[in-house]
Symmetry: D3
Subunit: 291 residues, 6 copies
């Protein structure tokens, strides 16, 4: 429904990658016209994601979804995530692909939720954001899983916000000059700048940045930056994002600094899959015979 | 060089995913004709992978690779993985994509190598194999990283070997019947069958399986299966693969059972990226001025 | 150089659309190995655009660009826009495609520049923006031409800013409710809302909109809205965009209202091409013989 | 129905271009399962085109077309062009794309019809033809709009007829030599040649051209060419096409010369969109609540 | 059903190749809403193949298949292969494409069946296999037709088995060295080696090849190789494939040698189409009138 | 050079089809940086075709063509068709694909030439034409091979000429009505009509057909048709094409009837490949060692 047409094409290309010329095993073992039911079963705790994508894929394969949990639902080992019915060869041919999608997206949603919960204990309004450190080809799926887990997608690609990074500054020279050049951007885009010290944060706020990324700064330094901006009456004019070196162990400390956003690459580049399996119901003996 | 043309197209599609209409920040901040050098720097220990892919991508972008470590090399924090030279906007536009490829593939190669080393301490000829639990769209890259890490790719897709799994058996009925149906496959393909008990392993070996997957069986049971097959004079006729529930903590125990292959989904679906960054050399002051 | 790889593919697809199985006329009339020079000649006044795209296309066809005017240059009838050299069949096969690109993009840049100049006479800081009323498949090229002409690209697509329009309001109910729902967007995105009366403009500003589109409002009403927002101390907190019913005849009047942005669909959906032609230099008699 | 499959893919790519990762505004504001009706309303006079394409696009999006005017129908401000029903997010996500298609194709059909009507007042059998000066990527849509407006598509691409142009003649040398070379073409193709003077027109007719393009010749010269061919008994053997420098102001004069075809690049490269809008019906209050 | 999604896309691309901008003849002659029935009629004897593919294509075009023979059925001149019903323009637009698929695939299945029948008269368990000498872009269709005709697909592509050929041996040096290098392949893949003399066949069997291709060897030599392997107790450890210079005239002689597999490039690269035609039923007079 | 960009993409897709994830055998056996020379050797008599396509493919793979015969050259067993130099893995990976292209296209060119020579003995100006009975996906390559063999491509696709066939006539009713409907086609297109008797041929000529296809008519009937048209003074106004049931055995008889064109589906759907092989030169012993 909300899936853009090219994302559906991408889902089909995932299937192609796994199928090649077809599922040889099922072609030899399974009658071509056998209809079966099957269940996707969770084998770990987590937050479910990927349901909308898998449903779209199954619909285009003419497999019926009998019932299904929703994106964002909590799941536990043994839970039936989805129950489907369709041609046996088609279901077995798509099994691995749909599990790979659900397991990966749920892994990301689950880690996001855990980080959001931790951080909000210390700072109820802080946002946990992903970065562009997504796995190649999977940005749509990973950013969506982050949102399902309660996180913020951050920039989707290089054209939807300006983010002035260390490498830009090495070429341009300084924060003020960089922000001047950025002011000719479209009025529809925000500009963010990466700084590594309190002084540059102040400079950036004065020069009109919409968002300031405090990169690889210790919590104590960040607190100093927040205080300084408050003192200068600039705190309300900018959003502050902490980034770099943040993980599950120290995220509460960063949240407590009072920043608006905490971003972590690991949400997308180092998530762990939530294990699931697909189980076909054995057909009644009559239909199981191969003709 | 060894990269098939459609994989190069895929690499370019990864860039497209990140670029959209272009790198707005660099367009505004960086002169269009500025040439710079840049280094990819490792920030963690690991086994390097993705070099051949990134080189192919850079060549198609007309960025020169001055020097580079090779796929399979050990890297440590601070190591220069690659040194490149080219148009500044092009390098900054490709930065995130090439890092995402290197970090992900190196993460997989690194985990694979660690598992191989562990397992071979107990069984010097055992193979550590990946599964089809790869992230959607990334199978080529992940299987290749597994090989770079010293692992075995296992089946590439559904058409290059027969693997009779639990769901097939639920439909077909029993091991013998399944292997009979599989015997009409092309002479060029092996057949593997998944079993969950010692008796079925024996049945499968007798019925002519090339490979038997001992699925979710405890090490003690696997040892019983190995012994039984030896006693029946069938051990040399089949390869044995242990799969299911194996991780870094218990892999040595599984290796010690004497199986030929140990396969783990986590190698590909739950790897952790090896962190790297790209650093542009500041140009001399003359060229840095934007005209 | 700054052209993303998929845009180069799109340029090649434009060629494919025109070529089909090939340029039958040139195949029969022109020797396969004849090298010629050719010039692109302007036949009207305007602002040149499309040069970077055409250069990229020609490079991929191995046609050398000897010299060329730049994007943004003023051109007049008789001006040599570009001088090229390459295989005669290739140049004639690409002739129509490259002219179509240059003529269309220059048409848009030219109209944009004229509108910008007019509007800035009355309001030196006003921006003239395009809309999403671009011709299907040509958004990259048209938005870029707008920028070359001195305009603002506005939103590139549906995912890079929130723009709450009349149809959203019909469903959601009112401005305040809509802006509340929009507040859960990513911190990286601005939100704009379309209003049709002064009261809603005030409401929108109070509710935290980043940009307010004054849609189909007369200049007098817009002036009232500006005044009201100034009185309420909200004018500096929002950007104001006038849109709807604006054309070359009344744009000065709208500019004079003090809005920040004026947007017009006609820049992209109803531009007129700047005419150009390509002229091949006759080869010396020796080479002209067909073998 | 009459839409080739790759054109449907192109229509979907137009949607992709506008959607990116999805319609962020509607995702946040509109319930995912809300069904609405909507109307496409004409805001100007013209000839409608693009209906078949938009219907095909909507069907693939599972939006129902309740009723619709047909391609070729006259429309006036306020007319309901199409009434549709479907998922609210899907309709709002496709709104701009479908309007862009309808507005552009109708703009071309409208201009074509106006030119045909003008020309036929003076020469009832004259054909008004488009050229290959179509906007890149839109040839199918623009040629079809020309046909809907009563015009002739002329050559679709470089492989479906031979058209010997000035640049060919510069290389080959003269009309007779060019037509000799062209005689080895497939028997299934016509050959047309561009001439700029009366003498070459006669030469071309004698040498067996099927069609002669009188390029950039004044009406008086064209009349002389027609007379000369009649005198030589060749008028019935060739079709005559006037091209170059023809517009709405002088088309009647060209029609009166007695040529068979008048072709104009402006029909496709400089048309003006026929304005239309899409209006969603407000849902009843119950459904409007977002869950 | 068993058709992978990208193969359906390929089928649609075959249609695109034939349609271009559409079926001009039918557009002018046939009413847009006329529904007709049509029959595919065999005009030669053979084994039918391509039915599953054509059905998938027709379904995506919304043409109903009323009844149809199955892949593998014998057909004779006059047989109704398929009876369909749908939009007249759509059926006529797809006519040539669907006939081209059925005729080519049936041609291959027919030749395969004839060769299998001949060879099995002398050696009931021999397999007749295709090679990679398939026509570019048609491998899926040709390999499938071979299977329908009772043949063996052999390797599908360069990544699903190792096949050490003469050119590899020229570079590597000798059979033993080549098989050593091949032993590091994935455990999931077989290895085959091409030899041209009895001695190398023995060497290959000793070195652990799974399959030995006896290339361009006379039947007498092959018999010597078989005998030698039996004497050495190696015959059961390897499959033997005869290849090179085998055709319909000598295949029985090769079958009689006792090899396991006989492969022939001509099955795919030099098959003859089985002629078929499509006949539309004349509509009743009422509907035939064009409006 | 004369190869349109999308045809080069198609050539690369042929390689993809054969490579999958890569050439496993060469990866294991051949050093990655080994450079070799190789020759394409003809193994049968014929007319060479496919050279331009294979050169384009090799160039994009960075394999150098040292020397090569040309399209249209006669070849005999043992002839060196092409000599190339490049990376050993790349050459072996492309070997099968390039041979498949050359062998198939040469097969078609050879058969075409043979038919042209035969037919012209009896009718020196007759054209031998292919049909749309080309193998799916290969129309460009097959039509080009026909031209190289001296044949006529006939219609390239459904949009470049009108051809009214039996199925159209079944729906429309009669020849005159069909040609009336066809008269509204673009002036740039010819119209051909299929007839099966002398009377309809006369009717078609009177009604203004450009070309008349005499379908499945015996030579005697065709001679009657030719005579009748001459008598009526219509022979010069139409081209006559004989089609249906024509093969190598009776083509001379058909040529002698005096038709302008003879078309045969078998040229493309039932050609036999011209056998060729690729032989790598053994490298000097030093380089052959694998490191």
């Amino acid at each position: 429904m909300g899936i853009p047409p090219h994302i559906l094409n991408k889902l089909l290309s995932f299937l192609e990658e796994d199928m090649g010329f077809g599922d040889e095993t099922s072609t030899l073992l399974i009658p071509s016209d056998l209809t079966v039911k099957a269940k996707v079963i969770a084998k770990a705790h987590g937050i479910l994601a990927g349901v909308e994508e898998v449903k779209a894929l199954l619909r285009s394969l003419r497999v019926r979804v009998i019932r299904s949990k929703d994106d964002g639902d909590r799941i536990a080992p043994g839970d039936v995530v989805m129950e489907i019915e369709g041609n046996a060869r088609v279901i077995l041919g798509a099994e691995r692909t749909l599990l790979n999608i659900l397991m990966h997206m749920s892994g990301i949603a689950t880690m996001t939720k855990r980080l959001v919960d931790k951080a909000r204990k210390r700072n109820p309004s802080v946002r946990i954001a992903a970065t562009r450190k997504t796995l190649p080809g999977l940005r749509y799926f990973e950013k969506k899983a982050v949102r399902i887990g309660g996180g913020d997608t951050h920039r989707l690609r290089l054209d939807d916000m300006l983010l002035i990074k260390d490498n830009h500054l090495r070429i341009v020279g300084d924060v003020r000059r960089a922000l001047e050049l950025a002011s000719s951007r479209s009025f529809s885009k925000k500009v963010e700048i990466e700084v590594t010290c309190v002084e540059d944060a102040l400079e950036a706020a004065k020069a009109g940045a919409d968002i300031i990324m405090l990169d690889n700064m210790k919590p104590m330094e960040i607190i100093r930056a927040v205080k300084l901006l408050e003192r200068e009456g600039l705190r309300d004019k900018v959003l502050l994002e902490a980034s770099g070196g943040i993980d599950e162990d120290n995220i509460e400390e960063y949240a407590a600094t009072g920043v608006d956003v905490i971003s972590l690459g690991m949400i997308t580049h180092s998530s762990r899959a939530i294990d699931m399996s697909l189980e076909v119901e054995p057909p009644t003996s009559r239909n199981a015979n191969r003709d």
